[in-house]
């Protein structure tokens, strides 16, 4: 299990990939460029605070399942975000906690801590490798936080395609030639194609070409609904394939999601990690 985790990033993913809450009626979608659409997806409102329970189902090629469950909390402090997550199961990792401070200032590196109950110790951890798997899942840290918009060139693959009855743009993104080496090094991705719903700017599908192992990852957002006025996907799937064969699959199920219900500031300190839920 990797040791730098922003579980609330997953909720952000579900919101980022799946939601945007600005006024739909004011949009003139026809006039938006692919890059502007990507910015709109990225520039989301995910509430001042949020809580959720997350069930992660990992399925290997032999259809063996492993299940992890977490409880997560997030709060915005101005443009900065603090989040904390606690493992509920399986038993061998129960009460393990992760905390992250994500700073809006580009010059500040995110702060991350890990609490291992077996050691009874809070440990600061480095940001590490963004390509790494998030807790053994098919989601990487790049998937969770979203790639930098300015690092990629965008173009329409199709300006209209129906996905589950919703009209979508199909947008391709490749690393800018001038930044290609760095972007590929950081993300591990060579190309991304996203299906963005026109009515709410949600990325409901994605296809990503992964350099390492020449794998292709398929993303899908399901069970989409508005919670407290914020579009949210309650189910995310990421499937990794190689040579058109399934390698591994991750299903994320979000439950008991709340937004803007107030969280105390002291929820987000290292003492809280030790105390647990």
């Amino acid at each position: 299990m990797r040791k730098r985790i922003w579980i609330w990033g997953l909720v952000a993913v579900s919101v980022f990939m799946v939601s945007l809450t600005f006024q739909e009626k004011t949009l003139k979608a026809e006039n938006l460029s692919p890059k502007e659409i990507a910015k709109r997806v990225d520039n989301r409102d995910d509430g001042e605070t949020s809580t959720s329970e997350l069930t992660m189902i990992l399925v290997d090629r032999n259809k063996n399942e492993r299940i992890r469950k977490m409880k997560s909390f997030r709060k915005s402090f101005g443009k900065d975000t603090k989040s904390i997550s606690f493992f509920l199961s399986p038993a061998d990792v129960k009460n393990t906690a992760f905390m992250s401070y994500e700073w809006d200032d580009e010059n500040k590196e995110d702060d991350n801590w890990l609490y291992l109950p077996a050691l009874r110790k809070v440990k600061r951890i480095a940001s590490g490798n963004k390509k790494d798997s998030f807790m053994g899942s098919d989601f990487s840290y790049v998937d969770m936080n979203g790639p930098e918009i300015e690092d990629w060139d965008y173009k329409f693959v199709k300006e209209s395609e129906k996905v589950n009855g919703h009209d979508c743009w199909v947008i391709e993104a490749v690393p800018k030639a001038s930044r290609r080496k760095r972007v590929i090094d950081e993300t591990g991705y060579l190309k991304r194609v996203s299906w963005i719903r026109k009515d709410n700017f949600m990325a409901v599908r994605g296809k990503t070409w992964v350099k390492k192992g020449k794998k292709i990852k398929f993303f899908e957002a399901l069970d989409i609904e508005k919670i407290s006025g914020i579009w949210t996907a309650k189910k995310l799937e990421m499937t990794t394939t190689k040579k058109n064969r399934l390698e591994h699959k991750t299903i994320l199920l979000f439950d008991k999601i709340t937004y803007n219900e107030g969280l105390k500031d002291d929820m987000f300190n290292t003492q809280r990690m030790e105390r647990g839920l």
Binding site: K3, K94, E109, R120, A126, N129, R180, I216, T239, L246
Partner: protein, 513 residues
């Protein structure tokens, strides 16, 4: 000698392999990226997507025939973590095979049961109870008569309460945690520099898992957090020393001394008000790092050998020594700094009032025996006839770095240095000591597989220790582990030499619930 060469070769090969592997991966990534950067600038995107064998299959094609009963999975997974009572724990079976002994045999067949109960009240108070119990069947298998009573008492079975504390808020800004507990401070994974609250389990050199290394003590801890600052004040009510290997056991640190002196039972200071230990910590987090200041007024968890009795009546002097614990005062600082994939860490402490063994005890005894004016043949401890120790001030330093920039790999190094500040030549210890440790952790197969290599080097030819573990997650909460522990001796009077034949193969299976 041949064994040393083989072990060294093995370790060097292993480290070289891992270094090359990691380096190669890193280099490969860079080199490939560099190459592709140059090539890709001249080629179109289809070139760098070559080899993907993407038939253009759609989302329906990759769903396969995976059918999951989501509702059932959600219903079966545990609750929201806020239940008023919870019971967790694990059952573990461990096997150790000592293959380097003259008669190789299983040196551990240990069954462990660990139970943890958590009671919670509605107003944020909780009570935690953790019991750990093990039985090692290897002693019966090898014949209990072959072991000293002390060995059997220490290693064959044990039942102990690890955690038994209550915790809750006294006010909005002050919390209390009182009872049997572990207080883990500091950054080092190996050394004990500012992490002074808990004694250590040192019964099996390098074999004790990190999670079992700290021994809980009865203490009361007050914590106050204001913004990014945390203050801790701790009173330790129970004086508990390190657990060390006992007389006649494989890792007995006094094995060499027992033939020259009678070592009495360890004297542990009485737990009570007059001996209460005190610790204070100031901890401040900031963007990219943290800083801590620690002050401690405690008993040294490690014993020193004090003079107890000397009998000069026979042809050979008979000296008795007693392990005791000295009150020490420590002040130290520690911190972390994060930069990208690097985590830099450091600790520095000065420990005053620590006793160190002297190397001139035999000379003192002989001087007494040969002194014609001396008519006395028996000296008790009140006479202080022989000075076994000198009180000194010790400085300790740890510098370390962790690197996690290689996919699914974490590499960490620690260097630990200590120096006796007011050193004298009549001390048994070196004026300074240096120790290096390296740990390489690898996660693979979507976190199903983990491996960890841990290597410790003691300077001045005192030897090395290496432990390699591989762990496989058979299913949720069920793990199997295999590994090897190697002790590579240095000089004959070195630290590792006495346990040079204690190499072990390790296997375990653990089920958590």
């Amino acid at each position: 000698m041949r064994r040393i060469e083989i072990n060294y070769l093995f370790i060097l090969s292993l480290i070289l392999f891992l270094s090359l592997y990691s380096g190669a991966r890193l280099f490969a990534q860079d080199a490939t990226s560099e190459t592709s950067s140059q090539q890709e600038s001249q080629a179109d995107e289809d070139d760098f997507l070559e080899g993907f064998e993407d038939t253009g299959g759609g989302f329906e094609d990759i769903k396969g025939d995976i059918e999951l009963n989501i509702e059932k999975i959600q219903a079966e997974s545990s609750g929201d973590g806020k239940s008023l009572f919870s019971l967790n724990g694990f059952v573990k079976e461990e096997l150790n095979y000592s293959f380097a002994q003259e008669e190789p045999d299983f040196s551990k067949i240990r069954t462990t049961l660990n139970l943890k109960m958590n009671f919670r009240t509605f107003d944020a108070w909780k009570l935690v109870f953790n019991l750990n119990s093990f039985y090692d069947a290897s002693y019966s298998k090898r014949g209990r008569d072959n072991f000293t009573p002390e060995t059997l008492e220490t290693y064959e079975n044990e039942t102990e309460i690890r955690d038994f504390y209550f915790e809750g808020p006294i006010s909005d800004w002050l919390r209390i945690k009182s009872g049997n507990q572990v207080i883990a401070w500091g950054q080092s994974d190996v050394g004990q520099i500012i992490d002074m609250a808990n004694p250590r389990d040192l019964r099996e050199l390098g074999m004790v898992d990190l999670e079992d290394a700290r021994l809980p003590v009865v203490a009361t801890k007050f914590t106050s957090s204001v913004s990014s600052i945390e203050l801790n004040l701790v009173a330790i009510h129970q004086i508990k020393p390190n657990k060390v290997a006992t007389k006649g056991s494989e890792f007995d640190p006094l094995a060499g001394l027992r033939s020259q002196a009678d070592i009495l039972d360890e004297e542990v200071p009485v737990s009570g008000n007059e001996n209460t230990e005190y610790l204070f910590r100031y901890l401040q987090h900031f963007n990219g790092g943290d800083f801590s200041f620690v002050w401690a007024d405690v008993f040294d968890d490690a014993f020193y050998l004090d003079f107890y009795r000397l009998d000069l009546s026979g042809t050979m002097p008979k000296v008795s020594l007693v392990p005791r614990h000295k009150r020490i005062k420590s002040v130290g600082v520690g911190g972390n700094l994060v930069s990208g994939s690097f985590l830099f860490k450091g600790e520095l402490a000065q420990i005053a009032g620590k006793n160190f063994m002297r190397n001139d005890q035999f000379a003192q005894i002989m001087a007494l025996k040969l002194n014609p004016q001396n008519q006395q043949t028996v000296f008790n401890e009140d006479s202080r006839a022989v000075s076994t120790v000198s009180e000194k001030t010790l400085a300790k330093l740890m510098l370390g770095v962790e690197y996690s920039g290689i996919t699914d790999v974490t590499v960490s190094f620690e260097g630990l240095y200590d120096q006796i500040l007011d050193y004298e030549d009549n001390l048994m210890d070196n004026e300074s000591n240096l120790m290096f440790s390296m740990m390489v952790s690898l996660a693979a197969m979507n976190d199903l597989f983990h491996s960890r290599l841990f290597f410790v080097h003691f300077s001045d030819d005192n030897g090395n220790a290496l432990r390699l573990n591989v762990d496989y997650n058979v299913m949720d909460a069920l793990n199997v582990e295999g590994g090897i522990m190697l002790y590579i001796e240095g000089k004959e009077d070195g630290f590792v030499y006495p346990v040079k034949d204690s190499d072990r193969l390790i296997a375990s299976i653990k089920y958590s619930f």
